[in-house]
């Protein structure tokens, strides 16, 4: 690794530090951004767009369901198969790439950090083993803590402090980053082939999803947690669900976040912005959701926007995945996880010839375009659910170019003109706003900005993306798409990892995790109940459950003290 690096003549977009397209030198020494360097290797960016390394707030890249997706789709594996090179291991896959391809392709898009958003705690070791095998990227994973029996029992008894002790233990034991919620209550009901709407009582546990969300938000804010609760709400994918979405957001309105961040991060909200009453009158309600986000400060979202084509859906929303399989009749894998959560996986094809898919395609972009403040929005495809992450450059080019959106709409189902907003929206994102929604916002919302991610201020990690495009070319949609797919340079921790769109180095990334700190007496009380649960109901022993250090060889720990 070169000790000192100087990037000159780049046009820098560093939103966290208010840098809006300034010609600026970027100096890196020993992997960190510094004021100045003495004897650096020089990269002449020649007027190109320079941004901090991309930060993806939500992509399913590592763990049991991702691998089940790979395993049962050899046809996906055959796409994108590449032999090993001097630097790179073998690659395969399109919507479910192998771990090596995942790291290389993200790095080539200028990304340097990705959050695995749904880790079943009982299988956390699997997520971490895959994260180890993803080259280059720094990473973290969010454990699922909402359908857990312990959670529901504390929600029922109203013991928020004990619930906090439980989530602290879970996040620690899984070397996780925060609290993930997916179809709360509904996935437990799915173990009996049932589901739950926001205010339905979960069978046997007799709590509602609404109560679960609110309680977890309260418990989360007992600590100085870097991230808010991260929520995949109930009724995903159902026409008319936008009402549930707003009701879910309302649940936590009164709760005070520990710091300058939202209380709730709503994920892949495209899937939760549906109007109509059935598929026949299905329409976009992105406007209603955007209005809500525009008039509230306690919620952030990522869009989960559609990429047309074949992909693989995979979530902890077991009942939703079953419904999808019933619609398409394609192969379907399910994996209920005892006492905790579940998984459903099924392939899906988004077609521009189908009215519903066309409207879905519009909704994700509408959210980004109708929400005024880009600091509330992150660009995602809920990879691979709405589409593979390799499609991000397509989305970037759409958001930056109305003409491209219009041209696409012409080739899609005409429903986009009367049941979606997109054709009537003129707004175009600029590079600064793109930098916000593809890195700065995520870093802030995840609490990673002060740990070196998402910006280029002194002290930040030397993670930089130089894209092969100049600000003057901002109207060239094709060039935008090409530029964001294969970076001119990607620098990770001060090391050049991508040059001219090719991976030239593949160092190992670090796994970020949070250690919430909790009063011992409270923890002991919770542990008594937890150990009893292990003894009687789990199929593994308490001692063998926590993720051992061997699974996190490159750790980065963030402490989350109890709020006084």
């Amino acid at each position: 690794m070169v000790e000192e690096l100087l990037i000159r003549n780049g046009v820098v977009y560093d939103p966290i530090n208010g840098v809006k397209g300034e010609k600026k030198d970027i100096c890196i020494r020993d992997g960190k951004i510094v004021e100045e360097v003495k004897n650096p290797k020089v990269i002449d960016a020649e007027g190109r767009v320079v941004m901090p390394g991309g930060v993806d707030i939500h992509a399913h890249i590592a763990g049991g369901k991702v691998n089940s997706g790979r395993l049962f789709r050899p046809e996906d594996g055959r796409k994108g198969a590449e032999p090993k090179t001097k630097v790179c291991r073998v690659q395969s896959g399109y919507s479910v790439p192998n771990t090596f391809a995942t790291g290389y392709r993200y790095a080539r898009m200028g990304y340097t950090f990705v959050m695995e958003p749904a880790m079943p705690p009982l299988a956390a070791r699997h997520t971490h083993e895959e994260l180890i095998d993803i080259p280059i990227l720094d990473n973290a994973a969010l454990p699922l803590i909402d359908n857990n029996w312990m959670t529901m029992e504390y929600v029922k008894s109203g013991d928020i402090d004990l619930l906090a002790a439980y989530i602290a233990w879970m996040i620690k034991a899984t070397k996780g980053y925060g609290v993930k919620i997916v179809n709360p209550g509904g996935t437990e009901a799915w173990a009996w082939a049932k589901n739950c709407d926001l205010n339905d009582a979960v069978p046997y546990f007799d709590v509602t999803p609404a109560e679960i969300v609110k309680s977890l938000a309260e418990a989360n804010e007992k600590f100085e947690m870097p991230h808010s609760i991260h929520v995949h709400g109930n009724m995903l994918g159902h026409p008319g669900n936008y009402v549930v979405t707003m009701k879910t957001f309302d649940l936590v309105k009164g709760i005070r976040a520990y710091r300058d961040r939202p209380v709730l991060h709503g994920t892949h909200v495209q899937f939760h912005s549906y109007g109509g009453t059935r598929w026949g009158d299905f329409e976009s309600q992105a406007k209603a959701i955007a209005d809500y986000i525009n008039s509230n400060e306690h919620v952030s979202i990522d869009i989960g926007s559609i990429i047309l084509g074949d992909t693989t859906t995979m979530t902890a929303d077991g009942p939703m995945e079953y419904s999808l399989y019933q619609i398409t009749g394609r192969k379907w894998t399910n994996h209920d996880v005892e006492l905790e959560t579940g998984t459903g996986i099924t392939p899906f094809l988004y077609s521009g010839k189908v009215s519903v898919h066309t409207i879905q395609w519009a909704i994700g972009q509408e959210l980004a375009l109708l929400i005024k403040d880009p600091w509330k929005v992150a660009l995602t495809t809920d990879h691979p659910n709405a589409g593979p992450f390799i499609g991000y450059p397509i989305l970037i080019s759409m958001l930056m170019n109305k003409r491209r959106r219009d041209e696409s709409a012409e080739e899609m189902h005409s429903a986009i003109f009367d049941r979606a907003e997109l054709p009537s929206i003129d707004r175009e994102y600029d590079f600064y706003e793109i930098a916000i929604i593809t890195r700065a916002m995520a870093a802030k919302t995840l609490g990673l900005a002060e740990h070196g991610k998402g910006h280029l201020g002194v002290g930040a990690d030397g993670d930089v993306a130089i894209y092969d495009i100049t600000p003057e070319e901002r109207d060239d949609a094709g060039k935008i798409q090409k530029a964001f797919l294969n970076a001119k340079y990607t620098i990770k921790g001060g090391e050049i990892v991508v040059k001219d769109g090719e991976v030239v180095a593949a160092p190992q990334g670090r796994t970020f995790f949070v250690t919430p700190e909790c009063d011992e007496k409270l923890m002991d009380e919770m542990l008594t109940k937890l150990k009893d649960t292990f003894e009687h109901y789990y199929s593994v022993s308490f001692a063998n459950y926590p993720v051992q250090d061997a699974y996190v060889p490159n750790p980065y720990e963030i402490r989350a003290p109890w709020r006084s």
Binding site: P83, S92, T99, E129, A193, H335
Partner: protein
């Protein structure tokens, strides 16, 4: 004397993790909580004492360095090498295996090829509605073992996870559950069943089809007897399936090994989906070894495919029936093999063994076995789960970590694999010069 609790058993796919072991003078002297087969593994057997290279038909002791060097020479020179086994070692070793396979353009395959490979093919066709073992323990009031005999092959399965276990919603254990067994002969497991269906060998596919028809409401197309099973019995089992709140089918070699192979499994899964139209129903393959699933996991996330992966073209190519070990050996395509943590000498069809005996074979294993009889290089290693720790995956794909219970002088599988890879790279670098 040291007592170690929460020991994770390194034998079968149950991966029981509540075993208690006593260690004295660096030896396991007592085992509590394991089944007879697991206990036997933990108590230990005679080892291969030293690395060896075969000269003039007889194995001659040598050093690790010499054996590793010879192994690397064989693999570097091979045109169609096979790296086979993996199921009785840890994921850390498997990862090096994949890397080696990439380096020399080998086919990498594991015992699933002769075990649950058909199940994988079926899953690739229709998917798998399944769950973790704790879900069965807590919720399943109907347990079906189809072509599977846990009393012989998974000793603690019923006690820890299914028929005899006590769960949150089924605190009465056996009293709250019903057991159905489908097999070609009345096994010990079958004797415990509330309902035993004796099916004629090779006729499972027909019985699944009949059951599916009944579950979908088409019982009138089912004849009075299907594959040796009466329609009356089928109707009874179908009712049992429809009535419960949560049912599970565990299936084994009885359906993967017999006529129809993966088609049997597709049908089993489709039968589960038919049951699922009435109530919650899941299905799970009874994986035989403690890390057969783990190799499939590693191979899948690293190459995109679960087993029988051919890297000879540089990129991963997967086509069981073409790239599986048995086919490679029967076609006599394979010109060298590395056999690790498995025993094809004992478990492959004779024709495969005949070819294996002809080509250079490197064996990496703690114990001498039929493969040792014709291996050209023998490298003894530490016993994973007793002498070295590592990552493994249970039959329901839950990851656990096997422990190190005693110290050893032997190198671990992972270390030996790394050394071989290093040597291979050195040889290739020299050739490149």
């Amino acid at each position: 004397m040291v007592q170690i609790t929460d020991v994770v058993c390194p034998l079968c796919g149950c991966v029981c993790d509540d075993i208690v072991v006593e260690v004295e003078d660096n030896r396991v002297t007592k085992v509590r909580g394991a089944c007879a087969v697991g206990k036997s593994k933990l108590m230990g057997h005679g080892r291969i004492k030293s690395p060896a290279i075969r000269e003039n038909g007889a194995l001659k002791d040598c050093s690790y360095d010499e054996a590793i060097k010879k192994a690397a020479e064989i693999l570097a020179a091979a045109r169609r090498p096979l790296l086979y086994g993996w199921s009785s070692t840890v994921c850390e070793a498997a990862k090096v295996g994949v890397e080696l396979a990439e380096e020399i353009g080998a086919v990498i395959d594991n015992t699933a090829s002769v075990c649950h490979g058909p199940s994988v093919l079926a899953i690739q066709d229709v998917g798998l509605p399944s769950c973790t073992l704790g879900e069965v323990k807590n919720r399943a009031s109907l347990i079906i073992y189809w072509g599977s005999n846990p009393t012989s092959a998974h000793g603690n399965h019923m006690k820890r996870y299914s028929y005899i276990s006590k769960g949150y919603f089924l605190p009465g254990g056996k009293k709250d559950r019903k057991l159905v067994v489908v097999d070609v002969r009345e096994t010990k497991t079958a004797k415990m069943a509330d309902k035993f269906l004796r099916v004629e060998p090779g006729k499972d596919y027909l019985v699944f089809s009949a059951l599916r028809a009944i579950l979908y409401g088409y019982e009138d197309v089912v004849p009075d007897e299907v594959g040796g099973v009466s329609k009356k019995d089928l109707l009874e089992v179908a009712s049992m399936m429809k009535e419960v709140q949560f049912g599970i089918i565990f299936f084994g070699m009885g359906v993967t090994h017999s006529r129809g192979r993966h088609n049997n499994i597709v049908n089993a899964i489709q039968t589960t989906r038919a049951a699922h139209t009435h109530t919650k129903f899941n299905i799970m393959p009874m994986r035989g070894h403690y890390n057969v699933a783990g190799f499939n996991q590693v191979c899948t996330w690293e190459t995109g495919f679960p087993f029988a992966v051919d890297l000879s073209l540089g990129y991963p190519w997967y086509n069981p029936g073409e790239t599986s070990s048995t086919d490679l050996l029967i076609r006599r395509e394979c010109d060298a093999a590395l056999i690790i943590a498995s025993d094809p000498g004992a478990h492959f069809p004779g024709e495969s063994v005949k070819h294996l005996a002809k080509i250079p074979v490197i064996q990496i294993d703690p114990f001498p076995n039929p493969t040792t009889e014709f291996a050209d290089v023998v490298i003894p290693t530490a016993i994973s789960g007793i002498e070295s720790e590592g990552s493994v995956y249970r039959m329901d794909n839950i990851p656990l970590r096997v422990r190190k219970l005693v110290d050893t002088e032997y190198m671990s599988d992972e270390e030996v694999m790394k050394r071989i890879l290093e040597e291979v790279r050195a040889i290739k670098a020299k050739e490149g010069e």
